[in-house]
Each structure stands twice: as structure tokens, then as C-alpha cells.
């Protein structure tokens, strides 16, 4: 299908982009376009103007920052996969990124676009939650920092205001000696998660001493499962404990049921991916 007419401008700099967005004329940002263009084609989105931010240098790239990483919003998944910094330190991000869509999607899609779009089945929001990332947002009005846990607010809903750009994501280091993993069960055609779990653990003599756990694909947004993560601490992650953690992870969560998977099946998958992700992370310690 063909999108409705719109105007298109390329931002010449970050400042130029912020100025355009401050205009309040319903301008929509486009980065890789891999969420937005399908919406335009189905006419589910009909913005009057697109602002292309792909060429803004400050928005892409991965660099060391406070012993962790700073990842520019317009960094493609391909560039994440090619990054030695990510590969060496954040297995959870490598796991998730290599499973996003397909090569073509990863070549064009950006981490910031995926995060700003906030598809409830996207892989990266869960990863950023488990890692305790924080997001730098900017508009003509000023800068602010929003923690990942406050950023995702519902289906396609985030803390971003209309005139705001996501600039980058700051990922803190893993706990010393810690390890991480992401496991999802995918919807076969698109690769989106029916259920996905991102885990960071630290162990001492086979006993888990720290754990952070986040899930995606199950409800209207990715979420941290803090009570469930606590159940794991002090255990050796035996099968019974993993069962209990998997069940606790979705307690009180309104689980989605749709044409891809009924809610009961997703609940079952949640326990499966939580168990597998925890095991995978522990095996990497």
C-alpha cells in the first residue's frame, strides 16, 4: 500500500532537529523507518511531515561511559552486533539483537527507534530494563534523564514528549563477575517475542547473590520482575526454584492473548524463557 502524502526534511544537526520538533506541527521523527514505514503504508500513521535524523552524527555510535556504555539512539542493530564493547560485556544485548527480525531489519532498524516505538513485543526494552539503563532525552526546552523503568508506559506509549528526541541510552556495567542472557520464544513470521526474558546474575560458589530480571512480549509493555528476581537470590537455581521464579515473574500481570498466542500459553512460555535465561546466564558466569 502507498502512504498518504507527507513532507520530508533531513535534519542538518541535532540543534536543527530540535528546532524543527519545537515547531509543534505534528512532525514525526524517522530513523531507520522499520516501524514507521509499515505504519505509514497501512495508513495507521498519517503525519504531515517526517524529520529524518539518521544523518545526525551525535546520535549514533557506541562508546565507553562510566565503566558502562553509551549507545546513541540512531545506532543500528547491525552496529551493535559488530561492536566489540557490547560483545565483550553485554551478552544479553548480543542475544537479543541477533534475534531481532532479520538481517535487513537489523541493518536499518535502530535501537532508539525500537525503544521509542515501544512495541510491547520488542526485544530490546526488556534488555535495557534488566541492565538498569537510563535514557537521555532532549528538546528545545531542555534535557532530562529518564530511567528505563519509567520510560515504557504502555503499548506504543513512552515518556517521550512530542518535541523530544531520544539522544542515547546509558548502560551501567554488570556487577563484577556477573553474566547475562536473553532468551525469547518468537512469533515465527516476524521474530517478535511471544515471551522474552532478560537476566543479569552474579553468583558466589554456585549460589546466586544478585539478580535482575525483565520480561517482554507478555503484556502492554516490558517490565521488571523484581519480586521474582529476589526469589532467586540465595538459591542454586535448581529446577523447583526456577519454576517458582517463572510463575512469580508474571504474578499480577495482565497477560495478552491474541491471534499469535492465547494468554495461558504466554503464561507458560514466560516460565520457560525465565528458566532458560537464568540457566544460560549462570552458565556464563
Amino acid at each position: 500500500m502507498i502512504p498518504v502524502q507527507f513532507d520530508y526534511v533531513r535534519a542538518t544537526s541535532l540543534n536543527d532537529a530540535l528546532k524543527t520538533l519545537a515547531g509543534g506541527d505534528g512532525t514525526k521523527v524517522i530513523a531507520g523507518g522499520h516501524s514507521l514505514i509499515p505504519l505509514l503504508r497501512f495508513r495507521l500513521a498519517q503525519p504531515a511531515k517526517l524529520l529524518d535524523i539518521a544523518g545526525i552524527k551525535e546520535l549514533s555510535g557506541i562508546s565507553e561511559y562510566k565503566r558502562g556504555l553509551r549507545i546513541g539512539a540512531a545506532t543500528t542493530y547491525r552496529d551493535i552486533l559488530d561492536s566489540a564493547l557490547v560483545r565483550d560485556r553485554y551478552q544479553v544485548m548480543m542475544d537479543a539483537t541477533s534475534g531481532i527480525g532479520d538481517v535487513q531489519v537489523r541493518n536499518r532498524g535502530t535501537i532508539g527507534g525500537g525503544v521509542a516505538h515501544a512495541d510491547p513485543a520488542a526485544d530490546m526494552p526488556g534488555v535495557l530494563l534488566a541492565l538498569g539503563a537510563s535514557f537521555n532525552l532532549r528538546s528545545k526546552r531542555g534535557k532530562r534523564v529518564v530511567a528505563a523503568r519509567d520510560f515504557f508506559q504502555g503499548t506504543f506509549a513512552t515518556a517521550l514528549a512530542e518535541d523530544e528526541l531520544l539522544i542515547d541510552m546509558v548502560v551501567p556495567p554488570l556487577p563484577r563477575g556477573g553474566a547475562s542472557a536473553y532468551v525469547s520464544i518468537e512469533q515465527a513470521a516476524s521474530g517478535y517475542a511471544l515471551a522474552g526474558a532478560a537476566v543479569v546474575v552474579k553468583c558466589s560458589r554456585k549460589t546466586v547473590t544478585e539478580c535482575s530480571l525483565a520480561l517482554t512480549g507478555l503484556s502492554d509493555r516490558a517490565f521488571l520482575a523484581e519480586a521474582a528476581a529476589k526469589l532467586l537470590v540465595g538459591t542454586k537455581a535448581d529446577p523447583d526454584t526456577l519454576q517458582r521464579v517463572g510463575a512469580a515473574a508474571v504474578e499480577g500481570i495482565e497477560i495478552t492473548g491474541d491471534i499469535h498466542a492465547p494468554a495461558e500459553y504466554r503464561r507458560h512460555l514466560a516460565a520457560v524463557v525465565v528458566g532458560r535465561a537464568i540457566r544460560a546466564a549462570i552458565d556464563r558466569v
Binding site: I37, V105, R108
Partner: protein, 163 residues
Amino acid sequence: MKRSVSLSINGRAHSVDVEPRALLVQVLRDDLYLTGTHIGCDTSQCGACTVLLDGRATKSCTTLAVQAEGHEITTIEGLAQGGELHPMQNAFWEKHGLQCGFCTPGMILSCIDLLESNPDPSEAEIRHAIEGNLCRCTGYQNIVSAVQAAAVAMRGAPVRTTA
């Protein structure tokens, strides 16, 4: 609301008048008659429309022509040089990596992107790399063989014909 856009395609500069909403695949096919780039779906999933954008496999149905300005585009028409098929095209021919041929241009371009970054991929890596290219005919087995043969050829040795 048409505007002039300059696109560099297969090493040649083209100037086309397009609306911002025009998809790259439409411009390639309908304005420039480069019909080797196919359209197989409406959902960004089949990969028949794959071209290389700065060397990276890209779905031209999910890219606006205006986004492609300033980038190098390679389509299937740009692979053969001086009447010689690209080693990947040759390998698809030799290994019977196609039947109807509908997926083939996109498949070949994705496989070239793979070998450019990974000259000696395992079978699993080849299969992972063509996840975004659906083939309704071959069952993928001969495509994998073709990529393996092309990998050898592109590292220096000629593609061997098998009976």
C-alpha cells in the same frame, strides 16, 4: 509535492522526481525500469525487494527513496561486470540455487552482504543470514550450497560444476 532526488545506483547517478512517500522499490521499478528488484509482500517480510544500501542488505519496500539519497545503491542489475556474472550469481546457477527465480535477486544480494562481512560462514550462519528472504521453491538446501560455493570462489578458487 514531487522533488528531485539524486540516487546513485549501480555506480551511476540518476536524478528522479519523486514524492517523499515513494518507496525505493517503486522508484527502482516504475521510474528507472530496474525490475530485477521484486515485490513479494506488503508486510516487510519476504525480502524479494532486497538491494544493497552502502553494501548492506536493505528492504527497498521499507525504505523511502528520499532516505536513500546520498547512499550507494546496488541492485541485481549491477552485479554482472563486463558480461561476467558475479561469483554469487554463478554459484546460484551452478548449484541450482533457484527454481522460479522470484526470490533470487534479493537472496543473492543478502548473501553478498553476508560474505562481505563473513567470508567463510558456517551452514548455520548462512541460514541465519537468509532469514529475511523467503523462498517458496527450493527448500533452501541448494541456496546454502550456492553460498558455500560462492564463498570458496570469492576467496579465490573457481566455482566447480557438479553433475
